[in-house]
Symmetry: C2
Subunit: 418 residues, 2 copies
Amino acid sequence: MSQIITKLDDLFQARREEIEEWLHKKRTKKPPFFYSSVDLRHSGVRIAPVDTNLFPAGFNNLSPAARDRSINLMHDRLEAMKPVPKKILIIPENHTRNLAYIENLFVLSGLISETGREVRIGSLTATEPLSLQSMNENTVMEFPLIRTNNRISTSDGFEPDLIILNNDCTAGAPEILIGIKQPIEPSYHMGWYTRRKSEHFRAYTQITREFAEKFNFDPWLISAGFHRCGVVNFHERVGIECVALGVEKVLHTMRQKYEEYGVTEKPYVFVKADSGTYGMGIMTVGSSDELLELNKKTRNKMNTIKEGTQNTEVIIQEGIPTIDVVEGAPAEAMVYLVDGVPVGGAYRINSERDANSNLNAAGMRFVGMCDESECAESAREKIKIPGCNFNVFGLVSTLAALAAANEVYDSLDIGFSI
Amino acid sequence: MSQIITKLDDLFQARREEIEEWLHKKRTKKPPFFYSSVDLRHSGVRIAPVDTNLFPAGFNNLSPAARDRSINLMHDRLEAMKPVPKKILIIPENHTRNLAYIENLFVLSGLISETGREVRIGSLTATEPLSLQSMNENTVMEFPLIRTNNRISTSDGFEPDLIILNNDCTAGAPEILIGIKQPIEPSYHMGWYTRRKSEHFRAYTQITREFAEKFNFDPWLISAGFHRCGVVNFHERVGIECVALGVEKVLHTMRQKYEEYGVTEKPYVFVKADSGTYGMGIMTVGSSDELLELNKKTRNKMNTIKEGTQNTEVIIQEGIPTIDVVEGAPAEAMVYLVDGVPVGGAYRINSERDANSNLNAAGMRFVGMCDESECAESAREKIKIPGCNFNVFGLVSTLAALAAANEVYDSLDIGFSI
């Protein structure tokens, strides 16, 4: 096990009850979202979330044990709602040709069905029912949506009590959902048209600092430092000098920390859109000069993110090289959570990239992860992922899910009266 | 005195030392910016900041006593710097024809001179020295800037130790300043190209909540509640439904609070750009229907803010009608702070508007405010501003200045180690 995994696993074993209690308190104070997935980067010295998705796909990558845990947690969450929803509509991304995404929908709807509910899958774009084949040749039906008196139903007459959103709303709140009476989880307000990475990592830094103070370690070990820039247009070359300066600032801090921890690698950063991306518009930068010398092709790429939204604000985040290798390729762990509790995960691997790269790019694929019940020495042997430790991955991911619950709040959310 | 002024004045008189200590502690933890001005709205039941400017103009509106306090606080702040700056360059807005702004520059440079320093005024756009006449026929010289080896000087050979920025950088960081060696206060990073009102009010809500809990009153009495929306384009009618929903949400909360406090007026909200404006792009809305019925002219107006920046994100803020009347016109107090300490203020009055309106619009003018030494019964009589209470205005504004110091932080600002 790596230095940081050992350290956190020791902490977890020694003070498990205290940790669980601390996390439970936080969950009670500000309930986590229905589900989420957290991308982790692990360098041996540190492990940190680098992206937290509130409309996760990839449930099909979860192990049987992880699926069981998901069902139980979904069940408890749904039963705690008032009134308890019996009929559930999933509203997915408009990816009718992405076979892996269809597989995710098949599994996700199956998990919710297993909680004892009726489930239907809607579609924001379909004009007639669609029968879609998944990667593993399962069939998924998607139904057009109908809005009547501020309630949504599907074209086959299904009237849900609750909508589970599995669409990250990069282009804005889906018009048909705005102001409807049925509850939506997570709300489209958490879509990427409002969310910002900088607000997520601000909240993460805050919670991590608290946690690390309580349990007495350096929060840098579980965080990727970041700096937020203002408006940038790479295409027009506006604001690039300011990003270059931010890059220097982040690299400077990294050098100090690397010296403190005896890390000999060359520090580098990721420059990415402050609003969500689909793995596009992410740049790896080792010095500010690289930024100033950007060629036109790269500048255009940085300006294009999912569905053509213009890339106008960026954050600079410490790059954490991944030491995890699965099937001979660089890999990064993704942890899935339901109701803020880790249920399992998968490794994203990409043989076309190296240990410093963003792996969420062309060439990626997923393999299952060891999880709590599968992390016995024998299982770990079997899947050959030496660094895999679900206690530690789960702990760091839980902090990220708690941060997500705290990241966007306005005064109405936190309430005024004392 | 109004209900809220009486309440807070009583609190201030009774627990002044405790309050000062609490504020001092906060100032020490996160130093406030060099200067700021805070726009307040006061309805009788409540008083709240609605805008906090980190590059304030209007120093010419301050009373002699307020100017003296400014000099003392600027002096102490500058003397505490290492090394102590002796030569100071002010970098102003590019408003060479705004006679009131030139008057502000004349006064501001005079205040800094009085701290015993040499002062020069630069210009981001001038290509030769400009001699400008102010409103009161004072002469102000502005000099072109020259950058050599990452240091700035003026065309007449003045090499400053410190730059005081008096330009709110709506259009971005001034290129000539990026990465220079001399310190800049406040940093261009606090320009409106990065700042967001929602982050300011998030920080304000947080600090106000703490303060009100400590001193046992409802923080709503000193806050204007808000809600942040995602990307909106009024011109293209994108996202307006979502704003309408936010308006309903804010109005709903207001109705509850109005009932609690027996306020019988009809609640209304301001819809404004989340990035700074120059009093443009602000809308008064009493119901979400008004938003949906916006005509084309208003939509275009909402999309145009200072220097043509596109209006893409909005906040919805509780409207606080002003009960203050000066010279027969609706008025709102503005408080000036140096180093986070209130020094004085002015009233913005606008006889072309009513008590519900945004007064920062065509027709506005300024009159001096009573301040600490001028708030004796006699002075108050003289300037006929019955609600004026500098203790209370100063207290609320200090909380806003402290919020500004906390509003933009990334992980590098707050540091990682414990």
